[in-house]
């Protein structure tokens, strides 16, 4: 066997990201004494450089390299760009939060960048090994991020929970991988697909493999009944980390779902579709109902995230390119909306007050009408009320489900949308109708955060009025395979 040097060009963004991240990791130890924000700015600059690299070599056709382990296509590029975009927002909000809560440190940003690298690898994974590699890079970074606040017991508890359950999920996923490998003799997705299509693999082993893989994915996505970690981890983590956990990794999770199910085993649709239907319906129902009783906004958003995962899976269960494109649109919209939601909590939080209880939002309209209005946009967008972009995200996935012939699922979906509207309305109610516990104007929000949170929220409105280009982008990237 000859060793062929693989083409490195498609992976240049990842390599540059790795190099710069490693550099920042080392440099941070020297910088942090003298220049507090050097690491932060270097992080943001790295992301911008990476975004530029992706854009300048935007994939117009599928390129596979590293012996079939790494794929670069427009699907990957678009998701990576949105991961970068969302991460830029995350780091911007986090900086202020870490300063306020007095545990500002360079590690947060370095770990965050490693997480982004892991997500990139996941998005471009084309065989089991790469996928596992990406998943672990991301997960390890996140375990450490949650535990960053060493003195807070609930953060440590969250980190422990996330670590144990995450490891379990990864184990299950790997078990599924090994079964598929055993049955097909290959680890590369298209080859597996071909062998399954040809009917050369043992159907029983394949079925077991699919079940394990879907369970592993459901863990990572936080879909019911594998969601139990999400509320505790979201709640216990510092808000900056919750912001990170709840947004960008979801995009990567969707990417691996797509790579595994749509590219790796289209021939097993009848096996995994039923599983996805169960996960999707349960997630929507549980997410909608349990969120109602939450008093903590982070916890509520965790359950809301579970419900959104259910909606995302609607697009996946349609099991056709249009459905995947709908799901892709949904996850991008969700990530942006979640950044705005958690960003709002950060913008309002103060030293000693996390501002993460719904009661904290009471009377916000009288204390800061502008931010109350922005939060109103975020809540209604999450609830799927037009004219905000969340509405179109829901409409499109539901449309894909109808098209696939599952009208009953569409009906379940809209009913859960009505139920979940109730808890989003609770937040609006608190802001607009209730009297604040403490009166007087709210402590001034830093200009940077004010702008950032306004920008993201208004983007939800503007995208809602003009959703066309984002929709086209998603549909084209899946169609361009």
């Amino acid at each position: 066997m000859n060793f062929v040097i693989p083409a490195f060009a498609p992976a240049i963004p990842e390599m540059v990201l790795l190099a710069l991240t490693s550099f920042i990791l080392v440099a941070d130890t020297f910088w942090s004494k003298r220049y507090q924000f050097a690491t932060y700015y270097a992080t943001q600059a790295t992301l911008i450089v990476v975004a530029y690299l992706i854009m300048s070599s935007f994939a117009t056709a599928q390129v596979i390299t590293f012996d079939g382990g790494f794929v670069r296509d427009s699907f990957a590029d678009i998701l990576k760009l949105f991961i970068v975009l969302v991460s830029l927002g995350i780091f911007l909000f986090s900086k202020e939060y870490l300063l306020q809560q007095k545990f500002f440190s360079g590690e947060y940003f370095v770990l965050g960048l490693f997480g982004v690298l892991g997500m990139f690898v996941m998005v471009s994974a084309h065989n089991f090994i790469t996928l596992y590699l990406g998943l672990e890079i991301m997960s390890l970074a996140m375990y450490a991020m949650i535990a960053l606040r060493r003195d807070a017991s609930d953060a440590i508890e969250s980190a422990m929970k996330y670590f144990v359950l995450g490891a379990l999920a990864t184990g299950i996923l790997l078990y599924g991988f090994s079964m598929l490998y055993g049955a097909t003799g290959s680890i590369t997705f298209p080859e597996i697909a071909k062998i399954i299509e040809a009917g050369k693999a043992d159907a029983v082993v394949l079925s077991f493999g699919v079940v394990f893989i879907v369970i592993g994915l459901a863990f990572k996505l936080g879909a019911v009944p594998f969601h139990m970690w999400a509320p505790d981890v979201y709640h216990g983590s510092p808000t900056a980390v919750t912001l990170y956990l709840g947004t960008a990794p979801k995009i990567a999770a969707f990417a691996i779902i797509y790579r595994l199910l749509a590219e790796g085993m289209p021939g097993l649709v009848s096996d995994w579709q039923t599983l996805i239907i169960i996960l999707s319906v349960l997630s929507m129902v549980v997410g909608a109902i349990v969120a109602i009783v939450q008093e903590n906004l982070k916890r509520m958003l965790a359950y809301s995230g579970i419900g959104h995962a259910g909606f995302l899976l609607l697009g996946v269960l349609a099991a056709n390119p249009d459905g995947y494109a709908g799901a892709m649109f949904y996850i991008i919209v969700y990530a942006i909306t979640a950044v705005a939601g958690f960003g709002m909590i950060i913008a309002l939080s103060r030293t000693g007050n996390e501002f993460d209880k719904i009661a904290d939002f009471k009377g916000l309209n009288n204390r800061n009408p502008w931010l109350a209005f922005m939060m109103l946009i975020v809540m209604f967008s999450m609830a799927g009320i037009p004219p905000f972009i969340g509405f179109f995200a829901k409409v499109i996935v539901i449309e894909e489900v109808v098209k696939a012939g599952f009208i009953w699922i569409a009906v379940v979906a809209v009913i859960t949308a009505v139920i979940s509207a109730f808890y989003y309305l609770r937040v609006v109610k608190a802001m607009y109708f209730d009297k604040a516990d403490e009166t007087g104007p709210i402590a001034p929000v830093s200009g940077e955060l004010n702008w950032a949170v306004s920008f993201v929220s208004i983007a939800l409105l503007v995208l809602g009025l003009m959703p066309s280009s984002l929709i086209e982008l998603c549909y084209q990237s899946i169609g361009l395979k």
Partner: protein, 504 residues
């Protein structure tokens, strides 16, 4: 006739942008907020008049059309247009808008700019509902409307406002999501979200039945029909005056409009099969809700129930057409019923708006709506009582007022369909007179028995102007309804053909 500027877009976006402007410009200056709102509302009304003057009454086709591609991937268009069914409703909306802004002038003290802004934005969206010709665009306006109304009731409403506004929001949202699924299903079948394409597409009986029921749920909640009416009394009682006016005068009409724009033309066969259901619910609303209104002790609640009862006429007039066709063999009588329903919608817009404004006038002075708290108001507020009694008479359906025209036409056509429908519907003349006149007697007449009434001041100039405008509208429509009927005649005829052409 085409106008030189996109008149419908102007009517939608001028108030919305104006409303946003009010939110910012009026933040610390109530006077600016008020005047700016009034100017925007009035300008919108003036700009809506060309719809009337330039309207071609000889065609049932859409007029003043605008069509721009909005989301090409899903074949969604920003498509607007009006016909004889929607044009009067648009004018009703812009007209009511001015009154609503004026009515809140001295009354609202807290966050005036948000209040005014919310009403302007709502006004633009309501126009959008009536003129949208793409089902997704329609749905966007239909749902988006809930947001400002939710805030208005919840923020400026009465003591149980939070309960009422949540109930309002969730009821309406629940009703409409099934309509959305129907739209998606039809898009999947025909590849188009255009309402006009949906009018012509073929649909099997099962699909039609399910779609009809989904539409029924959406529109029945909005109108509202028995038994999904329970949100309305709560919302009305708790809403501030202007909120009640907008709810009663316009939002309820959106349900009726939905039936003529969606249910009848899109699912004619299912409508024919299930018309008994709508007729039954309408008759229950007319009689049972009328009796419920009789025992109310809160004026606003009484008028709210009276609204439900009157809207029963609208749905009755719309759905008796199949029975008329069966018993007389021609659509002549059905035309009468349908036009009666449409006239009733416009007339009820004026009358219910006027009634709520009148109650608002009393409430602003006495801060109670309990009938028992009043007596002998006429001694202190003769001008006010003159108007209020006129509106009450119109509510009863006295000939010469607009209330008579629509009700009379509907009752007449109900008799043609089935003598029992007519008889039951006609009962309302007794029940309606009973609850309205009894309230009038208790509130306005009799001796002055408490000192709060003793101190009442008569209408000020602003209130007088609002009342007088509405009084003119009510009487004019009652004496001379012909122009309104002429506008809708061709479109109603077209609708009847659509509603009786099988799509199987």
């Amino acid at each position: 006739m085409l106008s030189s500027y996109p008149i419908l877009s102007t009517l939608i976006w001028l108030p919305i942008i104006g409303g946003l402007l009010v939110l910012f410009a009026g933040r610390n200056n109530d006077t600016v907020a008020k005047w700016l709102s009034l100017i925007v509302a009035f300008a919108t009304f003036v700009l809506s008049l060309p719809l009337w003057t330039g309207f071609d009454t000889t065609t049932a086709a859409m007029q003043f059309e605008e069509k721009i591609s909005w989301i090409p991937a899903f074949n969604i268009y920003y498509h607007l247009g009006v016909d004889g069914l929607s044009m009067p409703l648009v004018l009703l909306t812009t007209f009511t808008q001015v009154l609503v802004i004026a009515s809140a002038w001295d009354v609202i003290k807290e966050r005036v700019e948000q209040y005014m802004g919310a009403f302007l934005i709502m006004g633009g969206m309501m126009t959008g509902v009536f003129v949208a010709l793409d089902s997704i665009l329609f749905y966007v306006f239909w749902e988006a409307l809930l947001i400002p109304m939710f805030i208005v009731i919840g923020k400026w409403g009465g003591p149980r406002r939070v309960y009422a506004t949540l109930k309002f929001f969730l009821y309406t949202f629940f009703g409409s999501v099934f309509m959305l699924v129907s739209f998606l299903y039809m898009y999947y079948q025909s590849g188009s979200f255009s309402i006009l394409d949906m009018h012509t597409m073929q649909l099997g009986m099962t699909a039609q039945t399910l779609i009809f029921l989904a539409f029924l749920l959406a529109f029945a909640v909005k109108i509202p029909m028995f038994p999904v009416h329970t949100w309305l009394p709560d919302a009305h009682v708790e809403a501030p005056t202007a909120g009640s006016v907008v709810l009663a005068a316009i939002m309820l009409k959106m349900g009726g409009y939905g039936f003529v724009r969606f249910s009848l033309p899109i699912t004619p066969d299912a409508s024919m099969q299930l018309d008994w259901l709508v007729i039954l619910l309408s008759l229950i609303a007319i009689v049972y809700i009328g009796i419920v209104a009789l025992v109310q002790s809160d004026m606003k609640k009484l008028v709210a129930y009276s609204s439900i009862s009157h809207m029963g006429f609208v749905t009755l007039g719309m759905f008796v057409l199949y029975d008329i066709l069966a018993s007389t063999g021609s659509l002549q009588g059905a035309q009468l019923g349908m036009e009666g329903a449409m006239v009733q919608m416009i007339s009820h817009g004026f009358i219910s708006g006027a009634m709520f404004l009148a109650i608002g006038v009393l409430y602003d002075r006495m801060h109670t709506r309990e009938i028992s708290a009043y007596s002998g108001v006429v001694n202190k507020m003769p001008w006010f009582v003159m108007f209020a009694v006129l509106f009450a008479m119109a509510n009863v359906g006295l000939p010469g007022t607009s209330g008579f025209v629509g009700e009379f036409m509907v009752i007449l056509s109900a008799f043609k369909a089935n003598i029992w429908f007519g008889t039951i519907a006609a009962l309302t003349l007794i029940i309606g007179a009973a609850y309205t006149l009894w309230m009038v007697k208790r509130v306005f007449f009799g001796p002055v028995t408490n000192e709060n009434v003793e101190q009442l001041q008569d209408l000020n100039k602003r209130e007088f102007a609002i009342m007088a405008t509405l009084a003119v509208a009510v009487v004019a429509l009652g004496v001379f309804p012909a122009p309104l009927m002429e506008v809708m005649h061709t479109s109603v005829g077209h609708l009847l053909v659509q509603a009786t052409t099988s799509k199987l």
